[in-house]
Symmetry: C2
Protein backbone atom coordinates (compact mmCIF):
# COMPACT_ATOMS: atom_id res chain seq x y z
CA UNK A 1 0.00 0.00 0.00
CA UNK A 2 1.30 3.39 -0.96
CA UNK A 3 -0.31 6.34 0.82
CA UNK A 4 -1.50 9.40 -1.07
CA UNK A 5 0.95 12.24 -1.57
CA UNK A 6 -1.15 14.76 0.33
CA UNK A 7 -1.56 12.46 3.35
CA UNK A 8 2.09 11.44 3.31
CA UNK A 9 3.28 15.04 3.34
CA UNK A 10 0.68 16.25 5.82
CA UNK A 11 1.61 13.51 8.29
CA UNK A 12 5.36 13.68 7.96
CA UNK A 13 7.82 14.03 10.83
CA UNK A 14 11.49 13.12 10.97
CA UNK A 15 11.93 9.65 12.46
CA UNK A 16 15.15 8.88 14.36
CA UNK A 17 14.19 5.65 16.14
CA UNK A 18 13.61 2.39 14.29
CA UNK A 19 12.61 -1.20 14.96
CA UNK A 20 15.10 -4.00 14.22
CA UNK A 21 13.21 -5.00 11.12
CA UNK A 22 15.31 -4.78 7.95
CA UNK A 23 14.16 -3.08 4.74
CA UNK A 24 13.65 -5.62 1.99
CA UNK A 25 15.74 -5.08 -1.13
CA UNK A 26 12.68 -5.23 -3.37
CA UNK A 27 10.99 -2.47 -1.40
CA UNK A 28 14.05 -0.23 -1.49
CA UNK A 29 14.37 -0.87 -5.21
CA UNK A 30 10.74 0.11 -5.74
CA UNK A 31 11.30 3.37 -3.87
CA UNK A 32 14.52 4.27 -5.68
CA UNK A 33 13.12 3.48 -9.11
CA UNK A 34 10.05 5.65 -8.53
CA UNK A 35 12.21 8.49 -7.20
CA UNK A 36 14.42 8.35 -10.27
CA UNK A 37 11.47 9.78 -12.22
CA UNK A 38 12.00 13.07 -10.34
CA UNK A 39 12.78 15.91 -12.73
CA UNK A 40 16.43 16.60 -13.45
CA UNK A 41 17.91 19.62 -15.18
CA UNK A 42 18.18 19.02 -18.97
CA UNK A 43 17.91 15.25 -18.38
CA UNK A 44 21.52 15.27 -17.09
CA UNK A 45 20.85 13.33 -13.87
CA UNK A 46 23.85 14.89 -12.15
CA UNK A 47 23.47 12.89 -8.96
CA UNK A 48 24.32 9.55 -7.42
CA UNK A 49 22.83 7.66 -4.50
CA UNK A 50 25.03 5.50 -2.29
CA UNK A 51 23.11 2.80 -0.41
CA UNK A 52 24.94 2.02 2.83
CA UNK A 53 24.05 -0.96 5.02
CA UNK A 54 27.52 -1.87 6.30
CA UNK A 55 27.34 -1.32 10.09
CA UNK A 56 30.97 -0.25 10.36
CA UNK A 57 30.58 2.43 7.67
CA UNK A 58 27.34 3.70 9.19
CA UNK A 59 29.09 3.92 12.54
CA UNK A 60 31.85 6.05 11.07
CA UNK A 61 29.36 8.25 9.22
CA UNK A 62 27.46 8.73 12.48
CA UNK A 63 30.65 10.01 14.12
CA UNK A 64 31.48 12.31 11.18
CA UNK A 65 27.97 13.78 11.45
CA UNK A 66 28.59 14.72 15.09
CA UNK A 67 27.57 11.46 16.76
CA UNK A 68 24.11 11.03 15.33
CA UNK A 69 23.20 7.62 16.69
CA UNK A 70 20.30 7.16 14.24
CA UNK A 71 22.80 6.90 11.37
CA UNK A 72 24.44 3.97 13.11
CA UNK A 73 21.23 2.15 13.99
CA UNK A 74 19.08 2.69 10.88
CA UNK A 75 19.02 -0.37 8.60
CA UNK A 76 19.66 1.70 5.46
CA UNK A 77 21.53 4.97 5.08
CA UNK A 78 21.39 6.79 1.76
CA UNK A 79 23.92 9.39 0.67
CA UNK A 80 22.59 11.81 -1.96
CA UNK A 81 25.52 13.06 -3.99
CA UNK A 82 25.95 15.92 -6.41
CA UNK A 83 27.77 14.10 -9.22
CA UNK A 84 29.53 15.98 -12.01
CA UNK A 85 32.00 13.11 -12.44
CA UNK A 86 29.60 11.48 -14.90
CA UNK A 87 29.43 14.73 -16.87
CA UNK A 88 33.20 14.80 -17.08
CA UNK A 89 33.27 11.27 -18.50
CA UNK A 90 30.51 12.21 -20.97
CA UNK A 91 32.48 15.23 -22.18
CA UNK A 92 35.70 13.22 -22.51
CA UNK A 93 33.85 10.82 -24.80
CA UNK A 94 33.45 13.77 -27.18
CA UNK A 95 36.98 15.08 -26.77
CA UNK A 96 35.89 17.94 -24.51
CA UNK A 97 36.62 19.09 -20.97
CA UNK A 98 33.76 19.96 -18.65
CA UNK A 99 33.69 23.69 -18.00
CA UNK A 100 32.97 23.62 -14.28
CA UNK A 101 31.28 26.59 -12.66
CA UNK A 102 28.98 27.62 -9.85
CA UNK A 103 26.14 26.65 -12.17
CA UNK A 104 27.32 23.04 -12.59
CA UNK A 105 27.78 22.78 -8.81
CA UNK A 106 24.32 24.21 -8.13
CA UNK A 107 22.57 22.09 -10.77
CA UNK A 108 24.07 18.92 -9.31
CA UNK A 109 23.18 19.94 -5.74
CA UNK A 110 19.59 20.70 -6.77
CA UNK A 111 19.29 17.44 -8.73
CA UNK A 112 20.46 15.50 -5.67
CA UNK A 113 17.96 17.38 -3.52
CA UNK A 114 15.01 16.68 -5.84
CA UNK A 115 15.67 12.96 -6.02
CA UNK A 116 16.27 12.72 -2.27
CA UNK A 117 12.99 14.44 -1.49
CA UNK A 118 11.27 12.01 -3.84
CA UNK A 119 12.91 9.04 -2.11
CA UNK A 120 11.75 10.33 1.26
CA UNK A 121 8.16 10.87 0.16
CA UNK A 122 8.03 7.46 -1.52
CA UNK A 123 9.57 5.72 1.52
CA UNK A 124 7.25 7.42 3.98
CA UNK A 125 4.20 6.62 1.85
CA UNK A 126 5.05 2.93 2.34
CA UNK A 127 5.30 3.26 6.11
CA UNK A 128 9.03 3.79 6.47
CA UNK A 129 10.42 6.54 8.66
CA UNK A 130 13.30 8.79 7.68
CA UNK A 131 15.37 11.80 8.57
CA UNK A 132 17.64 13.85 6.34
CA UNK A 133 21.20 14.46 7.52
CA UNK A 134 22.72 17.78 6.48
CA UNK A 135 25.74 17.16 8.68
CA UNK A 136 27.24 15.11 5.88
CA UNK A 137 28.67 18.53 5.00
CA UNK A 138 30.61 18.69 8.28
CA UNK A 139 33.46 16.60 6.90
CA UNK A 140 32.81 16.19 3.19
CA UNK A 141 36.25 14.83 2.37
CA UNK A 142 36.22 12.12 5.04
CA UNK A 143 32.70 11.13 4.01
CA UNK A 144 33.82 10.94 0.38
CA UNK A 145 36.77 8.71 1.28
CA UNK A 146 34.54 6.39 3.28
CA UNK A 147 32.15 6.02 0.33
CA UNK A 148 34.83 5.85 -2.36
CA UNK A 149 33.60 8.96 -4.16
CA UNK A 150 35.70 10.07 -7.14
CA UNK A 151 36.58 13.70 -7.82
CA UNK A 152 33.46 15.64 -8.79
CA UNK A 153 31.16 13.93 -6.31
CA UNK A 154 30.12 15.17 -2.84
CA UNK A 155 27.36 14.22 -0.43
CA UNK A 156 24.82 17.06 -0.30
CA UNK A 157 22.93 15.31 2.48
CA UNK A 158 22.21 11.84 3.79
CA UNK A 159 19.05 10.05 4.84
CA UNK A 160 18.34 7.41 7.46
CA UNK A 161 15.61 4.94 6.56
CA UNK A 162 13.94 2.38 8.82
CA UNK A 163 10.65 1.11 10.17
CA UNK A 164 9.51 3.61 12.80
CA UNK A 165 9.63 2.65 16.46
CA UNK A 166 6.05 3.69 17.07
CA UNK A 167 6.67 4.45 20.73
CA UNK A 168 9.06 7.24 19.75
CA UNK A 169 7.34 9.17 16.99
CA UNK A 170 7.63 12.90 17.73
CA UNK A 171 4.70 15.29 17.23
CA UNK A 172 4.86 17.70 14.31
CA UNK A 173 6.44 21.08 14.98
CA UNK A 174 4.44 24.13 13.92
CA UNK A 175 5.84 25.70 10.76
CA UNK A 176 6.47 29.44 10.31
CA UNK A 177 3.24 31.37 9.58
CA UNK A 178 2.58 31.12 5.90
CA UNK A 179 2.81 34.89 5.37
CA UNK A 180 6.56 34.51 5.86
CA UNK A 181 6.80 31.79 3.23
CA UNK A 182 4.11 32.17 0.58
CA UNK A 183 3.98 35.46 -1.29
CA UNK A 184 1.32 36.55 -3.76
CA UNK A 185 2.71 38.04 -6.99
CA UNK A 186 5.57 39.85 -5.23
CA UNK A 187 7.69 39.25 -2.13
CA UNK A 188 5.94 40.68 0.90
CA UNK A 189 8.57 43.05 2.26
CA UNK A 190 6.64 44.35 5.26
CA UNK A 191 8.13 44.22 8.75
CA UNK A 192 8.08 40.56 9.81
CA UNK A 193 9.50 40.91 13.32
CA UNK A 194 6.09 40.79 15.00
CA UNK A 195 5.20 37.63 13.11
CA UNK A 196 8.52 36.03 14.07
CA UNK A 197 7.90 36.99 17.68
CA UNK A 198 4.48 35.37 17.63
CA UNK A 199 5.95 32.24 16.08
CA UNK A 200 8.72 32.18 18.67
CA UNK A 201 6.03 31.96 21.36
CA UNK A 202 4.01 29.34 19.49
CA UNK A 203 7.10 27.16 19.05
CA UNK A 204 8.18 27.68 22.66
CA UNK A 205 4.77 26.47 23.83
CA UNK A 206 5.11 23.45 21.59
CA UNK A 207 8.48 22.57 23.16
CA UNK A 208 7.11 23.24 26.62
CA UNK A 209 4.24 20.82 26.01
CA UNK A 210 6.92 18.19 25.39
CA UNK A 211 8.67 19.05 28.64
CA UNK A 212 11.56 20.74 26.84
CA UNK A 213 12.49 24.08 28.25
CA UNK A 214 14.28 25.96 25.52
CA UNK A 215 15.04 29.52 24.52
CA UNK A 216 11.94 31.72 24.81
CA UNK A 217 12.64 32.93 21.29
CA UNK A 218 12.26 29.33 20.16
CA UNK A 219 12.67 29.92 16.43
CA UNK A 220 14.94 32.93 16.04
CA UNK A 221 17.00 32.32 19.19
CA UNK A 222 18.78 29.11 18.17
CA UNK A 223 19.24 30.49 14.65
CA UNK A 224 20.91 33.62 16.00
CA UNK A 225 23.09 31.52 18.28
CA UNK A 226 24.26 29.32 15.45
CA UNK A 227 24.58 31.73 12.55
CA UNK A 228 26.29 34.80 13.98
CA UNK A 229 29.54 32.89 13.70
CA UNK A 230 30.95 30.96 10.75
CA UNK A 231 29.39 27.56 10.00
CA UNK A 232 31.32 24.98 8.01
CA UNK A 233 33.83 27.64 7.04
CA UNK A 234 36.10 25.14 5.28
CA UNK A 235 33.29 23.96 3.00
CA UNK A 236 34.18 25.96 -0.08
CA UNK A 237 37.89 25.09 0.05
CA UNK A 238 37.10 21.43 0.70
CA UNK A 239 34.56 21.13 -2.12
CA UNK A 240 36.99 22.88 -4.48
CA UNK A 241 39.64 20.32 -3.56
CA UNK A 242 37.05 17.65 -4.40
CA UNK A 243 36.61 18.93 -7.92
CA UNK A 244 33.82 21.51 -7.68
CA UNK A 245 33.93 25.09 -8.84
CA UNK A 246 32.15 28.13 -7.41
CA UNK A 247 33.24 30.52 -10.15
CA UNK B 1 -8.55 12.33 -4.92
CA UNK B 2 -4.85 12.28 -4.29
CA UNK B 3 -2.88 9.58 -6.09
CA UNK B 4 -0.35 7.40 -4.28
CA UNK B 5 3.24 8.60 -4.13
CA UNK B 6 4.61 5.59 -5.98
CA UNK B 7 2.12 5.93 -8.83
CA UNK B 8 2.55 9.70 -9.03
CA UNK B 9 6.31 9.42 -9.34
CA UNK B 10 6.26 6.41 -11.67
CA UNK B 11 3.90 8.19 -14.06
CA UNK B 12 5.50 11.60 -14.02
CA UNK B 13 6.51 13.58 -17.09
CA UNK B 14 7.06 17.32 -17.47
CA UNK B 15 3.91 18.98 -18.81
CA UNK B 16 4.28 22.14 -20.92
CA UNK B 17 0.78 22.39 -22.44
CA UNK B 18 -2.30 23.21 -20.38
CA UNK B 19 -6.04 23.63 -20.78
CA UNK B 20 -7.61 27.03 -20.10
CA UNK B 21 -9.01 25.84 -16.79
CA UNK B 22 -7.75 27.86 -13.82
CA UNK B 23 -6.37 26.32 -10.63
CA UNK B 24 -8.70 26.95 -7.70
CA UNK B 25 -7.16 28.84 -4.81
CA UNK B 26 -8.28 26.19 -2.31
CA UNK B 27 -6.52 23.47 -4.29
CA UNK B 28 -3.31 25.45 -4.56
CA UNK B 29 -3.47 26.18 -0.86
CA UNK B 30 -3.89 22.49 -0.07
CA UNK B 31 -0.83 21.66 -2.17
CA UNK B 32 1.36 24.38 -0.68
CA UNK B 33 0.37 23.57 2.90
CA UNK B 34 1.16 19.88 2.44
CA UNK B 35 4.50 20.71 0.80
CA UNK B 36 5.44 22.97 3.70
CA UNK B 37 5.79 19.80 5.80
CA UNK B 38 8.87 18.93 3.70
CA UNK B 39 11.99 18.69 5.87
CA UNK B 40 14.06 21.84 6.27
CA UNK B 41 17.53 22.14 7.70
CA UNK B 42 17.38 22.81 11.49
CA UNK B 43 13.76 23.98 11.12
CA UNK B 44 15.05 27.22 9.55
CA UNK B 45 12.74 27.18 6.50
CA UNK B 46 15.17 29.27 4.47
CA UNK B 47 12.95 29.50 1.44
CA UNK B 48 10.06 31.49 0.01
CA UNK B 49 7.53 30.69 -2.68
CA UNK B 50 6.20 33.43 -4.94
CA UNK B 51 2.83 32.60 -6.50
CA UNK B 52 2.54 34.41 -9.84
CA UNK B 53 -0.70 34.61 -11.78
CA UNK B 54 -0.35 38.08 -13.30
CA UNK B 55 -0.19 37.51 -17.08
CA UNK B 56 2.14 40.44 -17.68
CA UNK B 57 4.67 39.20 -15.12
CA UNK B 58 4.50 35.64 -16.45
CA UNK B 59 5.10 37.01 -19.93
CA UNK B 60 8.22 38.82 -18.80
CA UNK B 61 9.45 35.78 -16.87
CA UNK B 62 8.93 33.67 -20.01
CA UNK B 63 11.18 36.03 -21.96
CA UNK B 64 13.85 36.07 -19.22
CA UNK B 65 13.85 32.26 -19.29
CA UNK B 66 14.69 32.28 -23.01
CA UNK B 67 11.15 32.49 -24.42
CA UNK B 68 9.57 29.54 -22.70
CA UNK B 69 5.97 29.92 -23.80
CA UNK B 70 4.63 27.55 -21.09
CA UNK B 71 5.57 30.13 -18.42
CA UNK B 72 3.34 32.65 -20.14
CA UNK B 73 0.39 30.34 -20.65
CA UNK B 74 0.33 28.33 -17.43
CA UNK B 75 -2.34 29.57 -14.99
CA UNK B 76 0.05 29.54 -12.03
CA UNK B 77 3.80 30.01 -11.97
CA UNK B 78 5.69 29.37 -8.75
CA UNK B 79 9.14 30.77 -8.00
CA UNK B 80 11.06 28.74 -5.41
CA UNK B 81 13.47 31.07 -3.68
CA UNK B 82 16.47 30.50 -1.45
CA UNK B 83 15.71 33.02 1.29
CA UNK B 84 18.33 34.08 3.83
CA UNK B 85 16.65 37.47 4.22
CA UNK B 86 14.43 36.00 6.95
CA UNK B 87 17.52 34.71 8.74
CA UNK B 88 19.03 38.18 8.65
CA UNK B 89 15.92 39.66 10.24
CA UNK B 90 15.92 36.89 12.87
CA UNK B 91 19.55 37.61 13.77
CA UNK B 92 18.96 41.36 13.94
CA UNK B 93 16.21 40.71 16.49
CA UNK B 94 18.96 39.32 18.74
CA UNK B 95 21.47 42.04 17.98
CA UNK B 96 23.53 39.86 15.67
CA UNK B 97 24.58 39.89 12.04
CA UNK B 98 24.12 36.80 9.89
CA UNK B 99 27.49 35.27 9.07
CA UNK B 100 26.86 34.45 5.41
CA UNK B 101 28.83 31.66 3.78
CA UNK B 102 28.68 29.00 1.09
CA UNK B 103 26.89 26.87 3.69
CA UNK B 104 24.05 29.37 4.20
CA UNK B 105 23.69 29.69 0.41
CA UNK B 106 23.64 25.93 -0.06
CA UNK B 107 21.23 25.27 2.82
CA UNK B 108 18.76 27.78 1.42
CA UNK B 109 19.08 26.37 -2.12
CA UNK B 110 18.52 22.82 -0.85
CA UNK B 111 15.54 23.90 1.30
CA UNK B 112 13.95 25.56 -1.74
CA UNK B 113 14.58 22.41 -3.78
CA UNK B 114 12.99 20.10 -1.21
CA UNK B 115 9.82 22.13 -0.88
CA UNK B 116 9.54 22.58 -4.65
CA UNK B 117 9.82 18.85 -5.26
CA UNK B 118 7.10 18.33 -2.65
CA UNK B 119 4.86 20.88 -4.36
CA UNK B 120 5.35 19.15 -7.68
CA UNK B 121 4.57 15.67 -6.34
CA UNK B 122 1.51 16.96 -4.48
CA UNK B 123 0.24 18.88 -7.52
CA UNK B 124 0.75 15.96 -9.89
CA UNK B 125 -0.98 13.57 -7.48
CA UNK B 126 -4.09 15.74 -7.85
CA UNK B 127 -4.00 15.65 -11.64
CA UNK B 128 -2.12 18.88 -12.31
CA UNK B 129 0.78 18.98 -14.74
CA UNK B 130 4.01 20.83 -14.11
CA UNK B 131 7.50 21.54 -15.32
CA UNK B 132 10.42 22.96 -13.39
CA UNK B 133 12.24 25.95 -14.87
CA UNK B 134 15.96 26.12 -14.12
CA UNK B 135 16.35 29.05 -16.52
CA UNK B 136 15.24 31.36 -13.75
CA UNK B 137 19.02 31.41 -13.16
CA UNK B 138 19.64 32.97 -16.59
CA UNK B 139 18.90 36.47 -15.34
CA UNK B 140 18.56 36.23 -11.56
CA UNK B 141 18.68 39.96 -10.96
CA UNK B 142 15.97 40.84 -13.47
CA UNK B 143 13.79 38.02 -12.11
CA UNK B 144 14.33 39.32 -8.57
CA UNK B 145 13.31 42.84 -9.58
CA UNK B 146 10.18 41.57 -11.27
CA UNK B 147 9.16 39.66 -8.13
CA UNK B 148 10.23 42.34 -5.66
CA UNK B 149 12.77 40.12 -3.94
CA UNK B 150 14.83 41.78 -1.20
CA UNK B 151 18.57 41.22 -0.78
CA UNK B 152 19.24 37.67 0.35
CA UNK B 153 16.59 36.07 -1.86
CA UNK B 154 17.10 34.45 -5.29
CA UNK B 155 14.97 32.14 -7.43
CA UNK B 156 16.62 28.70 -7.50
CA UNK B 157 14.08 27.48 -10.03
CA UNK B 158 10.51 28.08 -11.09
CA UNK B 159 7.58 25.80 -11.80
CA UNK B 160 4.66 26.02 -14.22
CA UNK B 161 1.42 24.49 -12.98
CA UNK B 162 -1.75 23.82 -14.96
CA UNK B 163 -4.27 21.19 -15.97
CA UNK B 164 -2.60 19.05 -18.65
CA UNK B 165 -3.73 19.34 -22.24
CA UNK B 166 -4.16 15.60 -22.63
CA UNK B 167 -3.52 15.69 -26.36
CA UNK B 168 0.03 16.89 -25.71
CA UNK B 169 1.38 14.71 -22.93
CA UNK B 170 4.86 13.51 -23.90
CA UNK B 171 5.98 9.92 -23.29
CA UNK B 172 8.50 9.28 -20.52
CA UNK B 173 12.16 9.41 -21.50
CA UNK B 174 14.31 6.46 -20.44
CA UNK B 175 16.55 7.30 -17.48
CA UNK B 176 20.26 6.47 -17.28
CA UNK B 177 20.87 2.80 -16.40
CA UNK B 178 20.69 2.48 -12.66
CA UNK B 179 24.29 1.27 -12.36
CA UNK B 180 25.32 4.85 -13.11
CA UNK B 181 23.12 6.24 -10.36
CA UNK B 182 22.64 3.75 -7.53
CA UNK B 183 25.78 2.47 -5.85
CA UNK B 184 25.99 -0.26 -3.22
CA UNK B 185 28.14 0.62 -0.20
CA UNK B 186 30.74 2.48 -2.29
CA UNK B 187 30.74 4.49 -5.50
CA UNK B 188 31.17 2.17 -8.45
CA UNK B 189 34.24 3.62 -10.15
CA UNK B 190 34.46 1.17 -13.05
CA UNK B 191 34.63 2.41 -16.64
CA UNK B 192 31.15 3.73 -17.50
CA UNK B 193 31.76 4.72 -21.11
CA UNK B 194 30.21 1.52 -22.50
CA UNK B 195 27.10 2.02 -20.40
CA UNK B 196 26.82 5.64 -21.53
CA UNK B 197 27.19 4.50 -25.15
CA UNK B 198 24.39 1.98 -24.72
CA UNK B 199 22.19 4.62 -23.13
CA UNK B 200 22.98 7.06 -25.93
CA UNK B 201 21.56 4.52 -28.39
CA UNK B 202 18.52 3.76 -26.23
CA UNK B 203 17.71 7.46 -25.92
CA UNK B 204 18.32 8.07 -29.64
CA UNK B 205 15.82 5.31 -30.46
CA UNK B 206 13.33 6.92 -28.10
CA UNK B 207 13.67 10.27 -29.89
CA UNK B 208 13.51 8.57 -33.27
CA UNK B 209 10.25 6.88 -32.32
CA UNK B 210 8.89 10.41 -31.77
CA UNK B 211 10.09 11.51 -35.18
CA UNK B 212 12.90 13.61 -33.73
CA UNK B 213 16.23 13.11 -35.38
CA UNK B 214 18.84 14.21 -32.90
CA UNK B 215 22.47 13.58 -32.13
CA UNK B 216 23.30 9.87 -32.29
CA UNK B 217 24.93 10.24 -28.88
CA UNK B 218 21.57 11.33 -27.55
CA UNK B 219 22.56 11.68 -23.89
CA UNK B 220 26.23 12.65 -23.86
CA UNK B 221 26.20 14.61 -27.12
CA UNK B 222 24.00 17.53 -26.08
CA UNK B 223 25.72 17.62 -22.67
CA UNK B 224 29.13 17.88 -24.32
CA UNK B 225 27.83 20.58 -26.66
CA UNK B 226 26.49 22.67 -23.82
CA UNK B 227 29.04 22.18 -21.07
CA UNK B 228 32.42 22.51 -22.80
CA UNK B 229 31.91 26.26 -22.66
CA UNK B 230 30.89 28.45 -19.73
CA UNK B 231 27.23 28.35 -18.68
CA UNK B 232 25.72 31.24 -16.72
CA UNK B 233 29.20 32.58 -16.10
CA UNK B 234 27.89 35.72 -14.40
CA UNK B 235 25.92 33.71 -11.85
CA UNK B 236 28.36 33.91 -8.96
CA UNK B 237 28.93 37.66 -9.33
CA UNK B 238 25.22 38.30 -9.71
CA UNK B 239 24.20 36.22 -6.68
CA UNK B 240 26.92 37.91 -4.63
CA UNK B 241 25.50 41.30 -5.61
CA UNK B 242 22.12 39.98 -4.44
CA UNK B 243 23.42 39.27 -0.95
CA UNK B 244 24.70 35.69 -1.11
CA UNK B 245 28.15 34.48 -0.16
CA UNK B 246 30.16 31.60 -1.60
CA UNK B 247 32.99 31.82 0.90
Amino acid sequence: MSQSVIDTLNNRVSIRFYTDEPIEDALLERILQAARRAPTSSNMQTYSIIVVKNPEVKKQLAVLAGNQKHIEVCPVFLAFCADIHKLEVALHMHGHELKKSLETTLVASVDASLVGMSVQTAAESLGLGSVMIGSMRNHPKEVAELLGLPQGVYVVYGMCLGWPDKTQVPPQKPRLPQDLIIHKERYNSSDIRGTIDAHNKELAEHYESLGRNLDEAAWSGPIAQRLHKPVREELRKTLESMGFSFD
